[in-house]
């Protein structure tokens, strides 16, 4: 029997397969397809201090092996989350982790403090990497001093497992990883979307209402793998890896590069069953390669 369980800063996951924030709603929609309890965890849609309507339509452009989005953190705010959403998801038989976003350090702190009170949410993922909001968002994730500051501010009030999600839109990902480690992060999630744009040549206009947006899907997988590998070598913190994972082989690649947990993101849009199938595919891989525990594979990439 293969042991798929993993551990991040004392928090155990029954398997390393989780779903990326913004691609799984609050888990409710997927209950029509399968039981979220089959997954290691779910990272639910970003929550901010106040209601956000998000950006104007069009918010999506299909691109080769990927897509651009500029949703802009549409959500109903922390009050609504605690009152309406939390009761519906608190009893899922899986780790439910909340992605926390804000425009100011105060907003990040406020939301983190509120979620700290929720008994069945064992961890938050600090989103300092959203490219689709005007204030805050990615700005916190591209300047190391700001990344340290916001992480440290949240660390003061947040007592459980603190993950920080990094932006790939930087010159040195290791510098940012070190910055959030200095701020007190327990784990690092990478990568968020790559800033990109799409143009409609016929109309001579951008496809997205916001002109630029975040690129996701298999198109970004090589960049994500490289960043997971670099951070794994440079920083002694567990990594949650994502970026274009479409199947179990992709997931294994991220684990070999150094990820303890992986997130399935854009693939959920194409196949709502994909994350469950990835769990099964990882089991098959372990049997084929005679791997007793998935943790043996974390960072096990051979470069000799």
């Amino acid at each position: 029997m293969s042991d798929l369980s993993v551990n991040i800063a004392g928090l155990t996951f029954k398997n390393p397969v989780t779903t990326a924030s913004g691609t799984f709603g609050y888990g409710e929609e997927f209950r029509e397809f399968f039981d979220p309890g089959e997954l290691g965890g779910i990272f639910v849609k970003a929550v901010t201090g106040k209601n956000r309507d998000g950006n104007a339509y069009p918010r999506m452009a299909e691109t080769p092996s990927g897509m651009l989005n500029s949703v802009g953190l549409q959500n109903k705010g922390i009050d609504h989350f605690c009152r309406e959403i939390y009761p519906k998801i608190k009893d899922f038989d899986t780790r439910v982790i909340v992605n926390v976003s804000g425009s100011t350090i105060e907003e990040y702190v406020e939301v983190a403090e509120r979620i700290n009170e929720l008994e069945n949410i064992p961890s938050i993922e600090l989103n300092i990497s959203c490219p689709n909001v005007k204030l805050g968002g990615m700005a916190f994730g591209t300047v190391p001093a700001m990344a340290t500051e916001v992480t440290a501010a949240v660390r003061k009030v947040y007592k459980k497992v603190l993950m920080v999600k990094l932006s790939p839109n930087v010159t040195s990902i290791t510098e940012l990883a070190k910055a959030v480690a200095d701020g007190g992060a327990d784990a690092i999630t990478l990568i968020n979307t790559l800033l990109g744009m799409a143009i409609d040549a016929e109309r001579r206009r951008p496809v997205l209402s916001t002109i630029t947006g975040g690129l996701s899907g298999p198109a970004i997988k090589p960049v994500a793998l490289r960043m997971v590998w670099q951070v794994h070598k440079a920083v002694n913190l567990p990594i949650v890896g994502l970026g274009g994972i479409m199947n179990a082989t992709d997931a294994i690649e991220f684990i070999l590069a150094g990820a303890s947990v992986i997130q399935v993101g854009t693939a959920n849009f194409i196949d709502p069953m994909v994350s469950v199938n990835i769990v099964r595919g990882i089991e098959d891989y372990m049997k084929r390669h005679n791997v007793g525990a998935i943790t043996e594979l974390v960072g096990a990439l051979r470069t000799d």
Binding site: T23, E29, E32, Y57, M60, T63, M67, N69, F269
Partner: protein
């Protein structure tokens, strides 16, 4: 736990070419269909090309419960639909269905169905449902040219069919909104169901609003998932930004802020 939506490999049983740009795909399920309603749509996977990464949404044209088969009316627009146009009997297609809400039933017998281009797809399905309530709607269909006028005999089984073409080569010349039944001083309908290009739906909605006729439209916003999680297909409504794939695709025009834009 209730499982309401399916991700299934459906078998292509017919691919019927209507004209240069349009074709009908008939797909059969190995299992018994759930209840499917007019206005609902499917998400079709077009695999093996990097440029057709996401699924393609199509409105359901008709459902045959006896055969567990459904039909899609598809317009060739790009690489994905071109690939679908080349499928043969026996080919397999991965489909998520049924998705979205549906047209509501009318509280009147004076019903008009208006469609343009491939937007006519859900109207045939709706016309059949109305017939079950012994309502025989007027069905106004807009096409580019005579060459594209298709399935009139099929629609005629369920109501009175009127046609417009852009060039006047069949039916009335002009857009659907140029047809006397809509252009007249007081259109003789109490309910309009409309699907087609957005400018057409807005023009129909304007006429409906002017004459206080209840009007539902089916939106075709671009989407990634089709089941409510990507939040890409939103449209502004009286309740804020709503998802076309879950709260829609059918909306009563009173709920959309189209009126304000025109004013």
């Amino acid at each position: 736990m209730e499982i309401k939506k399916f991700v299934q490999d459906l078998r292509v049983v017919q691919n019927i070419r209507l004209n240069k740009r349009h074709f009908i795909l008939e797909l059969q399920s190995p299992e018994k269909f759930p209840l499917i309603l007019p206005g609902q749509f499917v998400q079709v996977l077009v695999s093996n090309s990097p440029s057709t990464f996401l699924r393609r949404p199509f409105s359901i044209h008709s459902v045959d419960y006896a055969n567990n088969s459904l039909r899609l009316l598809v317009q060739i627009k790009g690489e994905g639909t071109l690939h679908l146009s080349k499928l043969h009997d026996g080919d397999s297609l991965n489909v998520i269905y049924p998705l979205g809400n549906s047209f509501s039933l009318p509280a009147t017998r004076d019903v008009l169905l208006v469609g343009g281009g491939a937007g006519v797809a859900p109207l045939l399905f709706m016309a059949k449902l109305l017939n079950q309530d012994h309502i025989h709607p007027t069905i106004l269909l807009g096409f580019r040219t005579k060459e594209e006028v298709s399935e009139i005999e099929e629609y005629s089984k369920y109501g009175t069919v009127l046609v417009t073409t852009d060039d006047g080569s069949a039916g009335e010349k002009g857009l659907v909104t140029d047809h006397p039944v809509l252009k007249g001083e007081r259109p003789a309908f109490r309910k309009i169901y409309c699907c087609g290009p957005e400018p057409m739906m807005k023009a129909v909605a304007k006429i409906a609003t002017m004459h206080q006729i209840e009007c539902e439209v089916s939106l075709e916003n671009t989407m990634a998932c089709g089941f409510g999680v990507c939040l890409c297909c939103i449209t502004p409504t009286d309740k804020g930004n709503e998802r076309v794939c879950v709260e829609g695709p059918v909306f009563n025009v009173n709920r959309l802020n189209w009126g304000q834009e025109e004013k």
